[in-house]
């Protein structure tokens, strides 16, 4: 089966039936095209078929991940797809971040895992925004535009309950428990038809977010040099691309605003973000 994420296609071989079903439910459809940008092969380990079976994940001949039991495969396949992009996609700058869009302007949330970016970006995507990608900002080097990617967001542990508690109709996968990151569920916040209506667009802001329970929303605007340096700490392939990445990011930094935000109330933060894309936040 082939998963089409827009910019890339992934061939998944050897997927058990329950995984195929879960992937079709998330992605709407799969196809059997002849050329795939990346190939992921799932292999059942020989002797372990009968004793605590495990599945190894082979990506283009490599095995960068530990084998997992079949019931934990869905998050592993999603991570494998992220790995393919991070390992091979060097025509674009990749920053570990979530990206959302509204009014043809995007906002980049660069952050490490556990910062709350997935919860926030999924919340926004269910409240008038579009999710471009939950794992990376994929940036065109010539135009500095962020590229929309058709992939679900990945929610962990308590954030699953937070999003489910919004009581909105959502396309959420079953929860996979006891992964090395805890409980994981995937949410596809829009249909493929809506995705196809999205276009690459320039970011208007880069925001480092930090969730702190019970705090007021605190917003600090950063100097451009500080903001750019901080953003690039989260870049996957900045040193691989080299000087053209630097030049492109200087252009981007000159046209965006950088912020650090600490928050506990997503609704409150969403108001600020909406003002940003409307251009109504003073400097």
């Amino acid at each position: 089966m082939i998963i089409d994420s827009g910019l890339h296609s992934f061939r998944i071989l050897g997927a058990p039936e329950h995984i195929k079903k879960a992937l079709v439910e998330l992605y709407g459809r799969t196809d059997e095209r002849k050329f795939a940008d990346f190939q992921i092969r799932l292999n059942r380990n020989g002797l372990r078929k009968f004793l605590k079976p495990q599945v190894s994940i082979e990506i283009e001949g490599q095995q960068p991940f530990n084998p997992v039991p079949p019931e934990k495969l869905l998050p592993s396949i999603e991570w494998a797809m992220n790995w393919c992009v991070a390992a091979y996609e060097h025509n674009h700058l990749l920053i570990h971040a979530s990206v959302v869009e509204r009014n043809n302007k995007s906002i980049i949330f660069p952050a490490q895992s556990g910062s709350g970016k997935s919860t926030l970006s999924t919340y926004l995507a269910l409240n008038g925004w579009h999710l471009f990608y939950d794992e990376m900002a994929v940036i065109d080097l010539k135009s500095q535009k962020t590229i929309p990617i058709f992939r679900p967001s990945s929610l962990k542990n308590e954030s699953i309950n937070i999003i489910a508690g919004l009581k909105k109709p959502i396309n959420m996968s079953d929860v996979t428990v006891e992964t090395h990151k805890g409980a994981i569920a995937h949410v596809m916040p829009h249909t493929r038809k809506i995705y196809q209506s999205l276009s690459p667009c320039k970011p208007c802001a880069v925001i480092s977010i930090s969730y702190r329970q019970g705090c007021n929303t605190e917003i600090v605007e950063l100097d451009k040099a500080v903001g750019m340096s901080s953003m690039l700490l989260n870049a996957f392939n900045y040193s691989v691309i080299g000087s053209s990445a630097f030049d492109s990011m200087v252009e981007l930094s000159n046209s965006v605003r950088f912020f650090e935000v600490t928050y506990s109330n997503m609704q409150d933060l969403a108001l600020f973000l909406a003002e940003l894309v409307n251009g109504s936040v003073d400097g």
Partner: protein, 355 residues
């Protein structure tokens, strides 16, 4: 895609015109598994001429060049760091294999990917170098007692080192094969024929570069990257040798007792790349035919499309031969029992039980 078509594509880029989507898909899988995507771009000149390949394939060739260019920069930077160490210590040092190709800017270095830096030092300088590296930001790979013994006692070599800041991996050699092996490389002759580059780095001359790559291909148990080694050798010969030079290359091989390996290499080059080298062979023709066939069927990646029914058996044979080349039979038995027990443990309890 079968081996013949894959080889034809590398030799004649016009064959690309016959590929459809399915063909390009198979090609990309093979190139990724052999780490040859960017090399392919240089061999077929599709890095320069972006209209030959369909867009969906060209985009990956372009991305691979970005990566290989970055690795080349990193190799130069890492070699400068290592050379500084040697200069500080006043010891002689040669860069080998991939690093040597890169520093010498050989044709086969274009688009090549590097997993580590290999260097050659004099055996009497090993301890000095090890102490310096441990005190200057390098850390030797953590090995279990068995693997440590493999390196120090059987190979009389140091375990691999990693630079803590950059992640560069360094393999330190004092000869080209483990000392427990029955082969004796004429390492003094290699040192006598070192090449000092204008950049200040030193590498073996082209004959010893080819010899080392041939040793890696034909006397190693793991031929996972065997095709890349053969491609390296083919390109080095094309770049640096006229036909008459092959006799001198043979002499270098024979100096160290690799007469059979030279004859086998010529057979393989003729079979894979249609080279038509004609040199008198002193090796039994049935042995050459057998091992040429064995390597021809073993050195391509373990992809279903390229596997034959005898693939696994021949890979095992090459695996055994590779070990026997590097160690006496008695030691080989102990080593195989150890490896087999680890392999069985992994199969029962999972691949990563020892990590």
């Amino acid at each position: 895609m079968d081996k013949k078509l894959f080889l034809q594509i590398l030799l004649d880029s016009q064959v690309l015109a016959s590929l459809n989507e399915q063909g390009y898909d198979a090609l990309l899988r093979i190139l990724r598994q052999t780490d040859l995507v960017s090399s392919f771009g240089f061999l077929t000149k599709t890095h320069e001429n972006q209209e030959v390949l369909p867009v969906y394939m060209q985009t990956h060739v372009n991305a691979s060049k970005v990566f290989s260019d970055a690795q080349t920069r990193q190799v130069f930077s890492a070699c400068a760091l290592i050379k500084k160490a040697a200069d500080d210590l006043g010891i002689e040092l040669l860069f080998l294999k991939g690093a040597a190709y890169c520093l010498r800017q050989t044709q086969n270095s274009r688009g090549r990917l590097f997993s580590d830096i290999d260097i050659l030092v004099k055996v009497e300088d090993l301890n000095t170098l090890e102490s310096y590296l441990n005190a200057n930001g390098w850390k030797s790979k953590e090995l279990n007692d068995y693997d440590d013994k493999y390196y120090r006692e059987w190979s009389h070599e140091l375990p691999p080192f990693t630079h803590l800041a950059t992640g560069v991996s360094l393999d330190i050699h004092h000869t080209l094969l483990p000392t427990v092996s029955h082969y004796r490389v004429d390492i003094e002759d290699l040192w006598r024929n070192e090449l000092k580059l204008n950049s200040g780095f030193s590498v073996p001359n082209h004959a010893y570069l080819i010899l080392h790559s041939a040793i890696h291909l034909l006397l190693n148990e793991d031929v996972e990257k065997g095709f890349r080694d053969l491609l390296d050798i083919n390109l080095l010969i094309i770049e640096y040798m006229e036909d008459e030079d092959l006799e001198r290359l043979k002499a270098v091989f024979c100096r160290s007792g690799f007469e059979f390996e030279f004859d086998l290499l010529i057979e393989l080059l003729n079979k894979c790349f249609d080279c038509r080298y004609k040199l008198p062979s002193t090796s039994p023709s049935y042995m050459l035919a057998f091992w040429c066939n064995a390597y021809y069927k073993s050195i391509f990646p373990a992809m279903l499309e390229l596997q034959t029914k005898t693939y696994r058996a021949l890979r095992l044979l090459v695996y055994i031969k590779g070990h026997l080349n590097k160690m006496p039979f008695r030691l080989f038995i102990k080593h195989i029992i150890y490896k087999a027990s680890r392999s069985l443990t992994k199969k029962l309890f999972g691949d990563f039980i020892f990590k």
